[in-house]
């Protein structure tokens, strides 16, 4: 008999084991490369800060950039005020040594390109105005430009001072990304250069054009473009950059619908990259990213329906016995058997949780994360899959009904 649930279960288990083992082997195989390469010279760098109504956070961003441990004569900070309606422009202007440009609102991509046209340095960094860098981040990243083919270097991105449920689960999510981004770098497969403090060779933009202004996730597009043209993207696990994560459901949903829509659009746009010519990225990392989402949605649908059915059945049974909860509970305790809980699904859950804890431990250890985990890990374990699958479903609904995704 064709049992969809069983096939899904076996497929998920095998894939989880395979991916987990493969990523761990890759990480420990390349552990010696976790140290950042030594800097041979200090190239000039322009840091572009696109800002639209960022008066609440830009002050801290600029303070952190000004405090960077880097020769000041080699460092240029450019704020591009993208038609803000608050006092972002005035705040930026109050900083000494910061160039402030202003233009009419045109979106993040257009603001970065505007800054690019005014930048004269050898390297260019993009810095979101809601994030801030650690003092030595730039020094740690620069050494990675050790070959001409390396076009970009990404930092380690963490959630700043996570508070409340939504930021706590994002803190854990970001910490996982720290590890995966490094592993992907080992596999020559980094496919996103995040907005907060990714550094690029300016020559790339001179030769291949600036950021795609129509793209809602320009950081994903630029990374895929770099990879598709046969260049490399590196990562420094030691260069810490902190970002302020959305603190409520509405903001997070909006952010994720934009991100995930961007993933769908860009994966389709760069579908030609799914070939062996693009190495691990083409035959493994990108296909796995797509398959994982499809499987996660299939899991959520299947087990969601099963769970709803169980709840409905349970309710009906309770109705049949006039809701004698105490009687049922007493009976359950009296006849409790651990064997009832040993089944394939619970085994898979244990396996996934074990794998997750190992990955989390490695990420925390090697990125020298000092933040207190608190209840974040527990919350993440039991809610992340559900919440983020729901965000994916929302994104697909946006796509299906061709709704406009807002910033």
């Amino acid at each position: 008999m064709f049992d969809f649930g069983l096939i899904l279960f076996y497929l998920g288990t095998f894939l989880t084991l395979f991916l987990g083992i493969f990523y761990l082997i890759t990480f420990f195989d390349n552990k010696a490369l976790l140290r950042d390469p030594k800097i041979k010279r200090f190239p000039t760098i322009s840091i572009i800060v696109p800002a639209y109504n960022e008066s609440r956070t830009i002050c801290r961003t600029l303070e952190s950039l000004r405090a960077l441990n880097y020769p000041q004569n080699k460092l240029e900070i450019i704020v591009v005020n993208d038609g803000s309606t608050d006092d972002t422009y005035a705040i930026a202007q109050s900083f000494r040594g910061v160039r402030v440009l202003t233009k009419t609102n045109g979106g993040k991509g257009s603001a970065i390109n505007f800054g690019l046209r005014h930048a004269t340095s050898e390297l260019m960094a993009v810095m979101d105005a809601d994030s801030f860098v650690s003092r030595n981040a730039l020094r740690k990243m620069i050494g990675h430009f050790r070959r001409d083919s390396i076009m970009a270097v990404t930092p380690t991105l963490k959630v700043h001072n996570p508070k409340g449920f939504w930021q706590q689960i994002q803190y854990v999510e970001y910490l996982f990304s720290v590890l995966f981004r490094k592993i992907f770098a080992f596999l020559q497969s980094v496919y996103v250069t995040p907005g907060p403090f990714s550094i690029y060779r300016k020559s790339f933009f001179d030769k291949h054009g600036g950021f795609d202004e129509a793209n809602i996730t320009e950081d994903l597009e630029i990374a895929l473009r770099i990879q598709s043209l046969g260049y490399e993207i590196e990562n420094s696990i030691n260069a810490e950059v902190f970002t302020v994560a959305p603190s409520n459901f509405r903001d997070l949903l909006r952010q994720r619908v934009r991100w995930y829509s961007g993933v769908v659009n860009n994966m389709w746009q760069y579908r030609r990259m799914f070939t062996p010519r693009n190495g691990n990225l083409g035959i493994f990392v990108l296909p796995v990213a797509v398959i994982s989402v499809v499987l996660a949605l299939a899991y959520l649908s299947y087990y969601g329906i099963s769970f709803a059915q169980t709840v409905a059945d349970g309710f009906q049974q309770m109705y049949l016995i006039n809701f004698d909860m105490a009687g049922v509970a007493a009976n359950y305790v009296e006849h409790f058997s651990i064997l009832r809980w040993i089944n394939p699904i619970s085994m898979l859950a244990v396996l996934l949780i074990m794998f997750m804890l190992i990955m989390f431990g490695i990420a925390k250890l090697y990125s020298r994360d000092k933040a207190r985990v608190g209840g974040g890990l527990v919350l993440y374990t039991f809610t992340y899959g559900l919440i983020f699958s729901a965000f994916w479903f929302t994104t697909l609904a946006y796509k299906l009904f061709q709704l406009r995704v807002r910033w």
């Binding site: 084991l17 395979f18 596999l187 490399e232 062996p276 693009n278 190495g279 049974q317 009687g327």
Partner: protein
């Protein structure tokens, strides 16, 4: 343009390691199930021996079943066996052959126990309720069987095994003894419940059954 590598060696190693772990997991699961099935078989064997002993004692006492004081002690064990079977059934499905095989001897044990209890009730005036419950494992044949079974199990738990002796039978069982019982009670459809000798050929709610009990 950089030459891109493919990590064939690590892919292969991860694949083999994952396969070994996956197959070990499958094997462990299989062993665990076999162990549970064996456990139930042993349990059935023990119960069969105990019931044979009871029957022999009855014969030795020249049919005077009322002289046996520990007559009721196997009700809970029989019920426990039924629960273990139901538990396995919920995990592996109602059509699983291993469970269907385990059920046949269980039905025979139920019949033997039922006959002893019926004898005790009529000869010694023992004050307990006897319930026969006929169900079908095929949900198409019996939509209400799960609900009826749930109510009856609940009642037995609530009132205790000494008070309620319940025996459930799958009307599709291939056992001639079960089929004889099915014929004796004119079972055409499930659910069918016989409470203290009174036959109900439809679903009965909790309150109705409670009214019928002593």
């Amino acid at each position: 343009m950089v030459r891109r590598k493919i990590a064939y060696r690590n892919f292969l190693f991860a694949f083999i390691a994952a396969l070994v772990l996956f197959l070990s997991g499958l094997f462990t699961g299989q062993q665990l199930t076999s162990w549970q099935v064996e456990n139930i078989k042993r349990f059935e064997e023990d119960l069969r021996t105990s019931l044979t002993s009871l029957e022999l004692r009855q014969t030795l006492l020249k049919q005077n079943i009322c002289g046996i004081s520990d007559l009721g002690q196997f009700s809970a064990e029989l019920s426990d066996l039924g629960k273990q079977l139901a538990n396995l059934e919920s995990r592996y499905g109602k059509g699983d052959n291993r469970i269907l095989e385990l059920k046949e001897p269980y039905f025979l044990l139920e019949i033997r126990h039922y006959l002893l209890m019926q004898e005790a009730a009529s000869r010694c005036g023992r004050d307990f309720d006897l319930i026969l419950y006929f169900y079908s494992n095929d949900p198409k044949q019996c939509e209400e069987c799960d609900n009826q079974g749930y109510i009856l199990s609940y009642l037995q738990e609530k009132l205790g095994y000494d008070q309620v002796k319940m025996y459930s039978f799958d009307i599709r069982s291939s056992s001639p003894a079960v089929q004889t019982l099915v014929e004796l009670h004119h079972v055409k459809n499930a659910p069918l419940t016989v409470v203290n000798g009174v036959r109900y050929d439809k679903f009965i709610a909790l309150e109705e059954i409670e009214k019928l009990l002593s």
